[in-house]
């Protein structure tokens, strides 16, 4: 037994991200860790790699109890973590990034020659052609991911954790990665492989662990289970889920927003119509241009082409405010960095949308502000104590409701939700799905940008799938399945048959 995690508990504020979890991995084993987004996989792995300190629980390596309090210590124990988001310094060279914090030195000075050679060696093993002297910012997304992987292979390690390593990779690159993984496995290296892509997991992994809502719900051998069973384990589902999927559409057929062949930095030639009362989901993997498209529609990013909102054409010069006044609203992704105004009160956070679009008089009427707060508090059941409390005193889900309240008070009727349930606990997630459907019922038109399949199936009338900046497919409600979304968003229809066979 190489590594054992026992009874691990992790909490973020009131939210329990990891709930009494046991986990074990043997020498020379590849374990697949599965679960929906937010199930606690990354948190668990961050604990193992020393990024988070668990509230409770113990970690054993080769039977010995260890305290891993930071990444350096984890590395000393032979544990490497390839993170989901790329942690590279974009202004440094490839080899400098690979050796960051562990530079090889000669007479106290950097030994660049050795570092270059070693980097080159690893790339050769991985059969990729990346110049160690290239600047990271000049690399493609897939190349960055390969550098991140190469970094873990650079030093001798016993356990390599890979958090969705293949999202930006082509099938060929994934095959090469698997080749190296198998080779290292022979040498006794273990892997924890986190992925949403079933075919990959079944191909490379020996055993599985399934997490759901912070708990470890199942484990076993991949040879004894099939995709359907494992999906069921992952989604499992709670009471709220039963009979949830809404069947009817509230679309009236009247076009409220028409996107005409727009292209931006990360996406190309996107066209579609949004009808009143319709809910369209837009999905795609990291780097598919999904984020850029959401920002462009709201006027936060430049684009060519026009977007017609209720008969008024907006080119890229049209400001966010102009779009807001025409009824467009966006609940942005990364709520902490892009959504909430963290120094302001809950009340002000709600009112700011109204101020921008409707406020006319010289002074603010504090009593009316409070009315707005109370109205949205009740409307969205925001769990808050006082309008003057800082917005940061609320949980993530309630903060998201505050932002939604902001737009409801601004009088918006076209809503762009960009990853609306990111980092939100399951209960509140369902509340937000209900709110989205209620909005559609009330005649509002909705675009949901999401990477979460369960979210899409629950709310969307139809789903657009993006791949490498283009619209790869448009699925209507009957066609939306996890397999199909995966199939188009990984570009399987263009690049190969491998994933295609399962679709």
């Amino acid at each position: 037994m190489l590594v054992e995690m026992k009874n691990i508990v992790m909490e973020f504020g009131p939210m329990r991200a990891v709930d009494h979890v046991d986990f074990a991995i043997n020498t020379g084993e590849i374990v697949g860790l599965l679960g929906e987004n937010g199930a606690g996989k990354s948190t668990l792995m961050n604990i193992l790699a020393g990024s988070f300190l668990p509230v409770r629980g113990e970690i054993f390596i080769n039977g010995e109890k260890v305290h891993i309090t930071n990444a350096k210590q984890a590395m000393r124990h032979g544990i490497r973590f390839i993170h989901q988001e790329l942690n590279l310094c974009k202004d440094l060279k490839v080899f400098e990034n690979m050796f960051l914090g562990e530079e090889s030195k000669k007479y106290g000075l950097l030994n660049k020659k050795t570092m270059r050679e070693k980097s080159q060696e690893v790339f050769l093993r991985m059969k990729v052609d990346i110049d160690p002297d290239a600047l990271v910012k000049d690399l493609q997304a897939s190349e960055k991911q390969l550098v991140e992987i190469a970094r873990a292979l650079l030093f001798k390690s016993d356990l390599i954790i890979m958090d969705e390593p293949s999202t930006a990779l082509s099938n060929k690159e994934i095959e090469n990665l698997f080749l190296i993984m198998r080779q290292l496995k022979q040498e006794g290296v273990s892997f924890i492989y986190i992925s949403h892509k079933m075919p990959e997991l079944f191909e490379i992994c020996d055993r599985y662990y399934v997490m759901r809502d912070g708990k470890m719900v199942a484990d076993g051998n991949f040879s004894e289970i099939d995709e359907q069973q494992i999906t069921k384990l992952m989604i499992g589902r709670h009471l709220e889920d039963q009979g949830f999927t809404h069947k009817e559409t509230y679309s009236t057929g009247e076009v409220v927003m028409s996107v005409h062949n727009i292209s931006g930095k990360t996406f190309r030639n996107i066209s579609f119509d949004l009808h009143q009362g319709e809910i369209i989901a837009v999905t795609g993997l990291q780097g598919s241009g999904r984020d850029g498209l959401a920002d462009a529609i709201f006027g936060a990013e430049g684009y060519t082409g026009v977007i017609i909102v209720k008969k008024e054409a907006f080119d890229q010069k049209a400001s966010i405010l102009k779009r807001m006044k025409k009824g467009v609203a966006m609940v942005p992704r990364s709520r902490k960095e892009r959504g909430i105004l963290n120094d302001l009160s809950i009340c002000d956070n709600i009112s700011i949308g109204y101020f921008n679009t409707q406020h006319k008089s010289m002074l603010i009427h504090h009593s009316r502000e409070k009315e707005r707060y109370l109205r949205q508090k009740q409307n969205l059941s925001i769990k808050s104590e006082s309008p003057k409390a800082p917005v940061t005193s609320l949980s993530g889900g309630n903060q998201q409701k505050v932002i939604l309240g902001r737009w409801l008070e601004s009088g918006a009727d076209i809503f762009v939700f960009d990853n609306p349930t990111q980092g939100i606990d399951v209960g509140t997630k369902f509340e937000i799905y209900h709110l989205i459907i209620d909005l559609a019922k009330a005649g509002k038109s909705i675009l949901v940008f999401s990477s979460e399949y369960p979210e899409i199936i629950k709310v969307a009338d139809s789903c657009m799938v993006m791949y490498k900046g283009e619209m790869a497919a448009r699925l209507d409600r009957k066609e939306i399945t996890e397999e199909k979304i995966m199939y188009y968003s990984t570009g399987a229809n263009r690049e190969g048959k491998k994933n295609g066979e399962t679709a």
């Binding site: 709201f298 936060a300 400001s319 966010i320 405010l321 807001m324 966006m330 942005p332 960095e337 892009r338 959504g339 909430i340 105004l341 963290n342 120094d343 302001l344 002000d348 009112s351 700011i352 949308g353 101020f355 921008n356 679009t357 406020h359 010289m362 002074l363 603010i364 504090h366 800082p390 940061t392 902001r406 601004s410």
Partner: protein, 336 residues
């Protein structure tokens, strides 16, 4: 978990008192410091609370205090303006020239306000569109203003001419008599402007937008706020206030020395804002804090003089007080 819940439901009296005191310290720390300083002042000088003394402190605090109101806005928006002292030098020097040419106090005021608006707008444009860090943009502006007025003054002061002397002097020296008490004009100006800006920051959308921009630019932009316009506005308003302050300053000194006029005013203004509890990283703060901060800064000087602290050491002590004030703020912010 269970244990924590029971604690939340029934806080002991001790905890409740503690949290109430904590609230005063957190939300209104400037009142606490203000009261402490008043007590010290009274201990040092029993006649401290005489009307004459109080009104003198107001008059002394007014010039930098008015600038601090603008500084409060700039800092709340997450920026800084260190050109205000040099702005006062160039505006007061040139507006005295205008007064001497036109013999009209109000033409002079209009000129000062407009000139300040122009300098402020340039600062704002550099920060908003040129994407210069505010520290660099206003540092450059400070150097430019000071250099130009030094050149124009050629060593000599800008002096108010004889025919305007008596009328213009009364702007700063005049008083409004209310029964037996006489309220100096600068005191009225400072209080009225403080009330006005307090209202702007707390009860207008502009105020809310300024805090929003200082809190988180990206979020503010995505809430539809024109971030660039807000930034230009805060620098512009600060410029206008510098113009007003220059007018008042000219009337107080009557002869403006190019090299030393308004020197270190930016530090006084920033200090008033900092002592007043405004977050140096933007997003939080109150005008009343700045108002009290400006007064406290002058009161400290009075105390030091009363206590016979050598004049040259005044700076060391007021500097230490700023450090303590901001340190306390940081400790509070960590609690959040």
């Amino acid at each position: 978990m269970v244990k924590q819940h029971s604690e939340v439901k029934a806080p002991s009296i001790h905890l409740r008192v503690k949290s109430a005191i904590g609230k005063v310290f957190n939300e209104h720390s400037y009142w606490v410091s203000f009261v402490i300083i008043l007590i010290i002042a009274f201990a040092v000088d029993r006649s401290f609370f005489s009307w004459g003394n109080i009104s003198t402190i107001f008059v002394q605090a007014s010039v930098t205090g008015i600038i601090a109101l603008g500084m409060s806005m700039v800092i709340s928006a997450g920026e800084i303006d260190i050109s205000v002292g040099a702005q006062v030098a160039i505006i007061s020097g040139l507006s005295i020239e205008v007064l001497n040419k036109t013999n009209n106090i109000f033409t002079m005021l209009l000129f000062a306000l407009a000139f300040g608006a122009i300098i402020g707008t340039i600062n704002g444009l550099l920060v908003a569109f040129g994407r210069l860090p505010a520290m660099i943009a206003t540092l450059a502006m400070q150097t430019i203003c000071r250099s130009i007025i030094n050149h124009l003054g050629q060593g000599g002061p800008f002096t108010v001419s004889k025919e305007n002397f008596d009328t213009f002097r009364m702007i700063a020296a005049g008083t409004l008599s209310l029964g037996s008490i006489r309220i100096p004009y600068p005191m009225i100006m400072f209080i009225v402007l403080s009330l006005l800006f307090g209202l702007i920051m707390s009860s207008t959308t502009l105020g809310k937008y300024i805090y929003a921009v200082g809190s988180n630019e990206t979020s503010a932009r995505l809430a539809g706020i024109n971030v660039k316009l807000i930034k230009i506005t805060v620098f512009l308003i600060t410029g206008v206030l510098c113009g007003f302050s220059s007018w008042l300053y000219s009337s107080r000194v009557m002869a403006v020395a190019a090299a030393s006029a308004g020197s270190a005013y930016e530090m006084d203004a920033i200090a008033a804002v900092a002592i007043g509890g405004t977050s140096m990283s933007g997003g939080r703060g109150k005008i009343i804090g700045t108002f009290l901060g400006a007064l406290m800064f002058k009161i400290i000087n009075v105390i030091l003089t009363m206590a016979d602290v050598p004049t040259f050491l005044n700076g060391a002590i007021s500097g230490s007080i700023i450090i303590v004030a901001v340190l306390l703020q940081n400790i509070r912010n960590q609690d959040r």
